[in-house]
Structures are given as C-alpha cells and as structure tokens.
Symmetry: D2
Subunit: 371 residues, 4 copies
C-alpha cells in the first residue's frame, strides 16, 4: 500500500531504510518564491543526531542533506523539492543476528506478517532513521510558517517520573539540554535517572509537548479533517508514540463542565479566552489561542537484557540485542514532533484559503496575482 | 475545504446539520454482494438515541434511516450507498438566542472565524447529530468485518472518577446500562454521580474504550498510514474527544523498557504475545492481538450556569444556555467510537490486499474471480 | 472501489441508480457565502431533460432538485451541500427483459464481470441518469465561476455528418435548438438527419465542444495535474464519450511546428496570442486565452434492430431492445460536458491559490480575513 | 500545488528539472516480493534516449538509473522505491538566452504567470526530461503486469501524413525503427519526410497508439474513475499530447449505432466481442478485449525559424531558438505512453481487488495470507 505520503496541498513523500544507500523526501506543493538553502534544513536534521551526552551511546550519524530539485537561484520554484541524505556508515554487521528472530517491542514480526519478509538491517523502514525525511520536510514547512508569523516549538515534558517545571518554562534550555527539556534543573535530574537506567541496561519512556503560536482563528475543518484530528494522526504516526493529548487532554475526563469551559473575553478588541483548557482548538478549528499537543513515548524497545521471543522458524528462543541504542527516545523525537506539527498546521492553512467566497473573489481580483 | 470524506477504498462522505431537513452519508467503495437492509443500520443508530434514563433529558430524536441507493434485491451492488435520516422535530425556537453570542466550549466562534457566519440552529454542522452519518456508515463496515471474523466493541471505561472494573468485564452490560459501562456496579455509581452533577446544573467528562478482536497480523502501513495513526485521527475527529491512547497509552511514559516490551510466544503454532501493552499494534501494523484504543471526552460544554462570553458584535456578555442537554457525552459517543474504529480497520484491510506480489497474482489467477 | 468522488478542494460525490428511489450529489468544499437556491440548480437540470422535439421520444422525466443541507438563510455555509432528485416514475416493466442478456454497447456485461451481478433496471448506475448529480454540482461550480468573471459554454458541434458553422457561431441558438447547436441552419439539417435515422430504428453519433472564457493565466499544474489532463479525465468520464481534444486536437498530428505555434503578442499591455491552436493551455497551465475542449460521442447503443449477444447463462442469443431511447446522445450530454468542465476549472483555481509565497503571506495578512 | 503524484494504491511521485542535479521518482505502494534490479528499469529509459538516427540531433543523454531504496536482496520490500538519474551534462550555456523571452508553444509564459518566475534552463520542470520519472516507474508497473499475464505495447501510428500499415503490424519493428513504427516501409517514408522538415528547420507532429492485452473483464470503475477516463488523464498529461482517443475514438461521431455496437459472442465458453470498436472498455470497465488508446502529439515547438513573441519586460520581440531539438516528438514519447498506460492499468487492477464481498472474505480466509 501507499503509506509514505502526508498532506494534501503541501504534500510530502518520504523514502529510505536505515541501512539503504540513502533516505530522503520529496516535497510537492511548496509555494514558489521561498528562499531556501541546505542550511535551513540541516539545522533541523542536526537536532535529531545522537549527540554526545552521557545519555546517548556514542556513534556517528553524519546526516548531511542535499537539495536535488525544486530550488533555482536560491528560491523554491513551486515544483517538487527532492531532498536526500546519504547513509555513510552501513554497519550491517551489528544487526545481522536480528534477521532470524522477532525483537520484542519492534516491528520485525508485523513486517514479516504483512510483506512476507523484511529488510532487517537496523530495522529497515521501521528504523528511527525513517524520520529524516519528516524532519527535512518539516524544516521547510516551519520556515514558511515563520514568514506567516507562526512559531512551532516542541520540547521534552517529562522523562520517566522527572517532570519539567512549566511554571519556569525556559525556551533557551530546549536546544542545549541533552534531554531537550525547557528546564535546566529537571534536565539534570532526568540525566541522572537515565544514567541509572542505562547502568541497569534498561530504558525509560517520556512525554513531549509542542506549542504553536500565531495561528489565526479559523484554521482546520469540522468533521473528519479537524485540526486536532490531523495533529493526532501526524504525531501518532511517529514511532513509539502511544498517546496524543490536545490541550488538557486526558485530564478532561475527570472534569466538570464548569471547570473545563474556557470563557471568551475581549483583549484589544480581539476575541480571546480567559483560560486555554481547549489547547487552542474548538470543534476542530483553531480559536486563535496557543495550540498545545502532548505525546507519550514508550521506552526504547532495544534493551540489553535477555528477552524471550520467537524466531522466523516458529521456535521460542531467547534474544540478546547488541548494538548501540539510547536509553530514551524522547529527546531525539522532539524535533520530529515539531516538524510533523508544522507540516499539519501549514497544510491546514493552505487548505483554508478557499473557505470563503469573498476571499476567493478578492484573491483573483487582486491584480498583483498575475505573475 | 472538503473535510467530510473519510477513508480511501471504503470511503464515506457525511452531510447535514442539526436542524436542516435531513442528515446522511454516502458510502462509496462498499464491496458488492453484502446482504444489507435498513434494520442492520437502525440498530446502531438506536444506540446513539438520548434514551430515557435519569441521566438524559427526555427529548424525542426519532432517527430512522432510509437506504436510497446502492442496494438491489437485498444486496449491495458495489455502487454508492446513500443513507438518509430526516430531521423530524426542528426546534429552532430553543436555539435562536445563541445566534448572537459564542457559547464557551462550543465551535460557534471558530465557525464564524472560518466561514464568516454559521448555521447557529442547534450547533448546525458541529452538533452531535453530525455523527448520524458516521454511525450509519460504521454499521455497514461492522457488518462486513463480522463476516471476516472481526468484532469491534466500544464501551464506557469511566465517568468522572467512577471507573468500570475491567477485572469483571461484562459485555452484556454495555447495551443495557444507561452509561454503556461493562459493569453494573460501576454503572449504578456513575448514575448517582451524574444525578448529582445534573442537580448542580453542571456536566462531567469520561473515558471510553474500544477493543477489536480477530484482526490478522499485518494490517496497517509503516510511516504515515500506521493503523494506530489512522485510529487516532478517526477517534480524535469525534467532537469532545481530547486525548487518544493506544494499548497502555500514557502509562508508557513512566515505564521501563523491561516492563513495557511484550515477549513473543507460541500458542498452537501461532505467534502470540505474553502481554499486550502495545494494544495489538507494533510499528503501525497489527500483530494479531486484541487492538485496544481509549479516548478521553470532555464534559458537555452546554451547562446551565451563567457563563461569561463575547457576542458577535464584539461585546463581553453573560450567557445562560437553555434547551435540553445530557450531563455527560460518553454514553452516546461510545457507538460513534465503535463505528469510527470499524471504518478505519476495514479500510486498512482493503488497502492491505495488494501488499504482496504472490497474493495479487494468485487473486487474479483465481478463476472464480471473473463474475 | 470508490469511484464516485471528483475534485480535490471542491469535491463532489454522486450516487443513485436509474430506477432507485432517488439520485443525488454531495458537494463538499464549497466556499461559504455563496447565494444559492434550488432554482440556480434546476435550470441546469432542465437542460438535460428529454425535451419534446421530434428527435426525442416523449417520456416524462420530471427531475426536481431539493437542497437538504449546507445552505442557511440563502447562503452556502461551507459545510456539505446535499442535493437530491427523487425518481418519480419507476418503469421497471420496460426493462425487466434485459436482466438476462448483455446489450451490445452497454455496460451490462462489464458490471456483471466486476461485481458478480447488477441492478439491471434502466442500466442502474451506468444509466444516463447518473449524470443528474454531475449537473446539479456543476451548476453550483458554474455560479461560483461566474462571480469570478469566468463563463463556461458547451454546445453541439456536429451530429453525424452535419457540422455547425462556427464562422457564424450563435450562442442564443444553443438553449433553444433541439440539437443544442449554435447554428439554426445546421440544427434544421441535423434534425432531418436524425428523423431519418429514427425511422430506420437506428441511432447516430456526434461531437460536442466547450469553451471557457475569463480564466486567468497560471491555472493548472505541470506534470500529472495538468489542466488539460484533468479536463480529459472529466469529459472522458461522461458515458459514451470516446475521444477528447484540446484546442486543435487531432489536427496537430498533421501540422508543421511553424503552423502550430501560437506567437505571443501584446494587447493593452497584456500578453496574448496571435492564434489559439493550443486551446488556451500551454504545458498544462492556462495561458489566459479561451480554453477549448471537444468530445466525440458514440451513437446511442440502444437501437431497435435485432442484435446478436450473449445471455447470463453463457448462451448466444438475439436481443430486441424495447423502451424509449433518443436516436442521439449529444444534445442532452452538452450540459453534462459544461458542468464537468466547470467543476474541473473551479477546482484548479482553488488549488492554485497556494502557488506563490507572496500571495499566501498577503492573504493571511489581509485583516479582512478573520471572520 | 501538489501535482507530481499519480495513482492511488501504486502511487508515484516524480521530481526534477532538465538542468537540475538529478531527476527521479518515488514509487510508493509497490507490492513486496517483486524481483527488481536496475536493468529492468534501464531498458525502458534507454528507449527514450535521443538515439543516433538522421532524424535526431546528436547529443549525449546518458541517463543511468540507481535504485536508492525499497529493494532488499533483489526483491521489492513493499516500502518506497526511490529511483534517481543524475544529470551528467548541464549545458546551461545553450539555454541562457531564453530566460528573457517566452518561446511560442512552450510553457515559459504560463510558468511565469503561475509562479512569478521559472527555472528557464532547458525548460526546467516542463522539459521532456520530466518524463524520466514516469518511465522509470512505468517499467516497474509493466514488470508487475507481465507477471499477471498482461502486456502493454505502444508504437508510432503516424508521422505527419505517413501512416503505419496496421494490416501488416510488425511488433519487431517498433524497437528498431528510428520512428518506433510497427512497419518498416512506413518508417522509411516517415524518415525522409522528417529529413525534409529538418532541412527546412521546421518540425512535424504525429500520432501514437498503445494496446493492452490480457486485462480481465471487470477492471475500472463506473462514473469518475472509469478506466478510459484515467487513461485519458494519464496520456493527456504527457507534454505535447493534444487529443486522446479510446477504441475507434473520433470516428464514432460519424457512425450509426448499428455500425458501432460490438455484438457479444462466445469463444471457448468465454464472452467475447465480434468486433472491438469500443477499444476494450464498456461503461468505463474493461470487457476482456484488447484495450486500444491513441494520442495525437503536436510538432516540436522548438523550431529554428525566427518567431514573434513577448519578453519578460512586456515588449514584443523576435526569438531565434538555438540548441539541439528533434524535428518530431512522437518516437521518444512512445515509451512514455506505454509507461503511463501500464501505471494506470496496474492501479486499476489493485483497486479492483476489493470489488466483491466473496473475493475479500476468501482472500483473508486464505491461510497462505499470514506472512
């Protein structure tokens, strides 16, 4: 089946396996006239690199992006933008033994069930490296949104039991802390918690959050293409995510209506809300307030303890996973969440341009339209 | 924008407003040869009726469905199935006053922001009645799945603080308890909790869950069309849902990998799992185990307490909502969740038929193919 | 399969069989704020009625449309517009005999091959009545285009050997001549040609053409979504159409480049073309000139001569078709061509709104945007 | 807008400009288990090379394809297949002068009108080189169809006034004649006609045809997704094609029904037709007979005569095109038509697998399904 394309107007198609020759993405439907160069994309790709802290296992993933099409004299042309990242080190040796058996918590078994066999090298298409295409495309979407006055920012909300203190949210911490937490104290605590887990050859889960500011009211559709429904799909499609919350999320099921409703107020003549339990979306459509999405991520399934499993010959066996794996997924998944959110919001904004007759008529009357 | 179509092969398009002449759905892509009559659909629509218990406010919603096309001599023909439910009582009077102001927690403001105005009668397209089309179509999807040996079952997991006891899950209770809980004791407790809230003219939230049994391993796609990603979108697109969990959901963020991985085992020669934290989906593809999805639903936003808001003229005002509203959404949303899940799983199974070369070649070699 | 939906942003889904309870269409993605009433649509539906001339066989098709949703206080709301036409006379008797055998030139055999059986009454879904939904939706698209200064006009170019004289194109003739020709003389000649064929219980083919004026340069996409490619699909999807030409069409294969290229010139400071062999489209994108599409339509397959065929039991038999059938399809297909063209052009114009960064940024800066 | 993706289940996305770094395609939805190597694709790409005959202008287009993903140990994995062709010679010098003005018959003006500017090097995205991605993907589709017993064959039907003699159709000639005609005599005549045109620095048009054999009855959908409608779109989307005919095409408009209907007959117990005016498609669905499609191609717009045009500054100017251009497009477009046809037929066959309830139930009962 075709499952590697995302978006309706700003449409991306990702490709590539962990240990293939390369990974990449084709962005189709990018508006013409956007200034774009490799550096715009590289800075996002660099955020998903393993890094060098004590909570990651040192290995070289030198992912440098190349623009193959769709940009001419520094500007997007409106035609497909093809982005490629070559796989430099193909360490098949590390992975050969997993060819035979199904690693618990991984997609080895389900791929075999679906396709009859699989590219077992490093997880093939179900590897975390699949997100390279998402991030490269999301970097372009984020740049477009920025020019529309919209910012998208994701960070680690918690790792295991260690929560970031949102009262003292510190955006500057996100890009410098090894955990991508917006709180230096929580980061330190989380790091020691992770070192402990790593010593026990175990892994831990965590929670990440994304906020979008500057989206005007009116974006998203009623019914199936609700903005929150598309965000839920976008975020849940990131490997290891098991839950998605909008605004106050799960907490609403314990609330009273009188506690949960956000009163509408006026601020500088603009309609605003006295609180934002809704997370910036009402009836699937943005309300002009900050959009808040949260995702819960499972612990890295690759752990170094002996595990029980089954092999391809249908025998029960024990497996001991080797190789280099981080004890937590969240810090490197944060940029992926930010990119999937940017892609979703941008596509919704482009779809929204035809919502009203008068906007359409005015758009085409606008003489500055003809090239 | 076009946001009222759901599905790729089994594709539905819903239409209709709370107080329009009718609501309905067109099902396109239903396989030919399914025995189908109005009763198959009506039994699902009846499950979303207000009911007559103490926790709903008595009002008549006599929603009877009519099949307008796509069925000939009792069998689906493969052409579009058009289903219609006429609106019998159009109580515009009850609602006229909300035309002027934006009800907190509702989509009044966002619709105006998007479209410039709205059909304010009973919430128009953002009313709970919009789900009639989803349920009518889902009933057809569920009947097809049943013939493939797949059952879909949704129920109320909790209302406010009152949780159903899953140790003593009682499927027979779901269709008879006013709360749609699978536990008679919890139902009684929830009912008195709701009566209390109702007395205080307030409302409460809750949680619903859906389990799917019989789905073979291999359904769903890697990357963007993951089965869990599409379930997340389908469920989050139901009004008032603010969070979606797959398997153990949010709990995984507090787990260790050693606790969260499900060991693979053999049972009667089939690959199975020793536990099911994953909720039947690994890497976006079904693993043959029970699929488990959970949704958290906010309290009914229509409460009978005076609320602060803004009106269409941009003035801060107070609003007192009249009309008849249930103090909780969950019990009537359960069948909607069941139907959206059935639609999502069926479409994934139809998409999956072309996953393998040998299946395709065998399919067309199969002489019994030609009509 | 799902094959009854057309369009990406302005998306329509048609349903219904010749002898079912009703036929209709759901228009999803119609911009909000369009003044719309049943009369706007009825005038288009009336153009596809059999009429009462000597070249049609008198039978009553009283197709009156009802708007079921998506319009509030005379304006479209941006939500799905459901349109329905009830089938008044269900003359199953006329058709029962064709249940058993495959009429030459009809889809009886191919429907059975695909679905295993078919609704044989009046051709079921493959009846000309299927176009009711297309025309109802096209009427809405045409009204939107008109407000953007774009006119769509289809007419009969030829019937059998009788050609309309395009030198003396007379638009006023199209709606009043029984043949829908833009030329009263050719109409008279065609009518007598048709009377002759009718006398011989035979039928004839013909050619129809559609011109679109006022489309700005820049509409349509390169590669697969070329404006001419989408027009070709839209027109070829009309039953009985066997060829589609853009601009000079087939004639270009006999041309020299020096004859076929259209020189660019200036007119009132605007770029224009000295000729229009291209039919208003270059590289799949509109060039601002008149768009010209032509379609060739086969003779009515239902003729009253004894024909050889095969029946459902796999026996060679002779069939004598009864019932009432026009000797030519073109005059009633003209409005269908006009509507499919309008739908295609409108969708391309809505898709085009996000082609340029500066247009997008300006669109959202435009304060008049917020509702 | 997004216009570079084609297909629903077997979905391709092409990218690249004439003078960019590379061109390519991503094939998403290719079934797993197909033996595939670069040679399978290269042989199709070689057919679109300029060649070395007297009717092409000698220039080196050494297009060698590389498979970047989706193939493991010689078999497709079911994940996206990324194919790339590097641009070896980037002769920007040849083209720099066309940056300023709009070449008649080209998309220069319409691209500027749409996007505000364009990559003018060699036509950028509107260059014939855009078809590299189509051909690479079509080669894969054709290989799959071959394993299903279906053959797709395109050839040149006529060049200017010189027609191939279909009475003596010689398939062996297609791949060896410079014109790709299935007739050595006609080829010789066409070549001298072309040499004459070339001497006059002019160009000529032509007609190409594609036949598909082995498609079972029942493929394609009624209404909008008719097999002929999708073929019309696929073929019309090839640059320079101005008309598409199915079966007898345009000729039907001059026919009588008694001449045009194909009688059904029995042959070895199978339903067949006594003639094939319909071109193998009835009501948009294949009838088991040979599918026949024809396309008319305009003369190469790049001619070496002085032409009148307009430049980007809005001034009327004269242009003299330099560079190397073939005097006819057809011979190299034949393989593109073959590939677009293969892509369309394959996608229709995959979509058709869910047409009937009993096929679906049998498919999933089929134990050999589970991986």
């Amino acid at each position: 089946m075709a499952g590697s394309t995302f978006g309706t107007i700003f449409k991306i198609t990702t490709w590539g396996e962990s240990h293939g020759k390369a990974l990449g993405v084709v962005i189709d439907g990018c508006p013409a006239g956007l200034a774009l160069c490799e550096a715009d994309i590289q800075q996002y790709l660099d955020r998903r690199k393993p890094g060098t802290s004590s909570i990651t296992t040192p290995r070289r993933e030198d992912d440098s992006v190349e623009i193959l099409s769709g940009v001419f004299e520094g500007l997007t042309t409106g035609t497909p933008i093809s982005l490629i990242v070559r796989n430099t080190s193909q360490r098949s040796a590390d992975y050969s033994e997993i060819a035979a058996c199904y690693r618990p918590g991984h997609a080895d078994f389900t791929f075999d069930a679906k396709y009859g066999f699989r590219d077992y090298r490093g997880g093939g298409r179900s590897s975390g490296r699949e997100t390279i295409g998402r991030v490269a495309a999301g970097a372009v979407a984020a740049k477009i949104l920025k020019q529309m006055g919209i910012s998208v920012c994701a960070y680690t909300r918690s790792i295991g039991p260690v929560e970031a203190d949102m009262e003292h949210f510190d955006r500057s911490a996100i890009l410098v802390t090894p955990t991508a937490m917006p709180d230096f104290n929580a980061d330190r605590a989380a790091v020691s918690y992770l070192e402990e887990a790593k010593k026990n050859t175990d892994s831990v889960g965590g929670c990440m959050e994304c906020i979008v500011e500057g989206v005007p009211a009116g974006i998203g559709d009623p019914v199936f293409e609700k903005l929150d429904a598309n965000l839920a799909k976008a975020i849940m499609s990131i490997g290891a995510v098991k839950a998605v919350e909008i605004g106050d999320g799960c907490a609403v099921s314990l609330r009273k209506g009188s506690q949960n409703n956000d009163a509408f107020r006026l601020k500088d003549g603009q309609v605003t809300k006295a609180s934002n339990h809704a997370g910036g979306i009402l009836g699937g459509i943005s309300d002009g307030d900050t959009i808040r999405v949260r995702a819960h991520v499972k612990p890295t399934p690759s752990i170094f303890l002996t595990q029980q499993t089954v092999n391809r010959n249908g025998e029960e066996v024990e497996v001991n996973i080797k190789g280099r794996h981080d004890p937590v997924i969240v810090p490197r998944a944060v940029v992926v969440m930010e990119c999937m959110t940017a892609l979703t919001v941008l596509d919704a904004m482009l779809m929204n341009m035809s919502a009203k007759m008068d906007s359409i008529v005015k758009f085409y009357r606008n003489s500055s339209y003809e090239g």
